[in-house]
Symmetry: C2
């Protein structure tokens, strides 16, 4: 089944201990859709400026991604600059130029309306809600958010969370959203806000999925997938969005959503996150094969598997 | 097979968001030996003062722990005060009174000499080395250390590491010891210092074991065990030492050290760490049953197990 993703398309300038890259194609919708494209049909919604060329569009179309939902606006594409120190877990933003993204009003093309899966990448919560309402036939909605919306757009975010079935955020965001320092308690509070499941991304330690009692007709025990200890992380940008792409893409490729499928999706999320950080930008996601992906899936499985 | 543990026995005064406890029996050797006692015969070596009563000793002997290696010295037992804020991962030391621990010269009773396993809890590296050399017949030595020794006793520590087969430390200590911010690279550097295996404890995210190529006659792929997401952590003190006790105790209980045994040991370490934090001090480790322990082992296994 196909999945629609709504989010940012950007040009990033990134500096990490491994090097520096300028104006590389990036943004949550880019990472997500490339990662998801290895599992299912992907349709992207976003906005770009006049500096977004046919070459950039080919990055999507070469992976079979439907780009009819990319709006071409007057002006420049969203640009972001970030710097990572030795602690690769946090980026220091060096500049943000919203450009055409500032007045982004996502519009879902009619041809996308039959998609059954939707992913609301990290944008203003009211826009996320509007997209969800525009996509009446969607069966499963995933979503992301960030500290800025949690702090300053709480009311809007709480409305949006009622429409999101699976929320994917990190430890800090979970604790901030719930106002609780205990992760499992915070998870319970977030699940009471609407989502049936909450995926908490732990960076290099993997991710945990928490379930609302009775969600998906399965038990409420959490499940945890590890991340691969990687010797070299060249550029951590996009790891979370690629995780979401692997997770949601795998779900969309399955007949039904069982506990086992959700568990595997969590592993595939970690796998896609582990690939993207090996190179700057989404480079590594352009040329993967399903064989490479399943090979690493087995490595992840072996990493924690007891006989 | 039996295991000898050398380390601190202390009285702690601890404040956490869940409450406060004064002068409770604690110390690395206490947590380690109680945790290990559920798996194998444990013999403890440490020093206490005149304030260490028969009641305190019974905490050990009730669990079948051999206390003939506890030296009773003139003066007071080592006392430590610590405070945890909402972030339970780090303690702020409020006071340290070394007392009889200041001039601790561990001595291994003759009756302990036939033990084949040894654990050197976190004490001065030269003392650790002396103990190891005193125990000539030991087949497997585990060890711990901390930032203070890594920074200010590096030469001594490097000598000790040549005598340690399995080192158990946390992420920060591993990176500090290796001078490398990448965990897998740091692990490789630490393994080059002597140990055949390195267990890196990730707190609430579990632990990873890294192997030197060819160590224990098994592959060099790392293995990761999760930790249980706990709703309430009353007192994190002793989690690392209880982890070590579960890990080493399980190893000592097995016929041979295979990859599968090391994996299970890592799970048992996490299990013991998850129990101890449920109450202040080592309280929870006094009354466990092997059934409760194996029940939680299954929960941990389920937490990451793919069909």
């Amino acid at each position: 089944m196909s999945i629609v993703v709504v989010g940012s398309i950007a040009f990033d300038t990134v500096a990490t201990p491994s090097g520096r890259a300028e104006n590389i194609l990036a943004g949550a919708a880019t990472f997500f859709s490339l990662a998801a494209s290895y599992f299912t049909e992907v349709r992207v919604v976003g906005v770009v400026g006049e500096d977004f060329t046919a070459e950039h569009e080919k990055v999507f179309t070469h992976r079979g991604i439907d780009t009819r939902g990319i709006e071409h606006a007057k002006g420049k594409t969203f640009r972001w600059g970030g710097q990572y120190s030795d602690n690769l877990n946090e980026a220091k933003t060096t500049f943000t130029e919203l450009n055409v993204f500032e007045n982004f009003q996502p519009h879902i093309p009619r041809e996308y309306q039959d998609s059954q899966f939707l992913f609301l990448a990290n944008i203003q919560p009211s826009l996320q809600a509007a997209v969800r309402l525009e996509m009446g036939g969607v069966q499963l909605t995933g979503g992301d958010t960030m500290n800025y919306w949690i702090k300053d757009y709480r009311a809007e975010l709480l409305e949006t969370l009622k429409l999101v079935n699976i929320l994917l955020i990190n430890d800090t965001e979970t604790k901030m959203l719930a106002g609780d320092h205990s992760l499992p308690r915070a998870a319970k509070k977030v699940l009471a806000m609407g989502p049936k499941a909450l995926v908490v991304k732990h960076g290099e330690y993997g991710a945990t999925i928490f379930f609302r009692e009775g969600a998906f007709g399965i038990g409420s025990h959490p499940f945890r997938a590890p991340a691969l200890p990687l010797e070299e992380v060249k550029d951590p940008t996009g790891a979370g969005d690629s995780f979401a792409g692997g997770f949601m893409g795998y779900l969309a490729s399955q007949e039904e959503i069982s506990r086992e499928v959700l568990k595997r999706a969590l592993f595939y999320g970690g796998v896609m996150g582990s690939f993207v950080v090996e190179q700057f930008g989404p480079e590594r996601l352009k040329t993967l094969t399903r064989q490479e992906i399943d090979g690493r899936f087995q490595v992840f499985r072996e990493l924690t598997h007891l006989e």
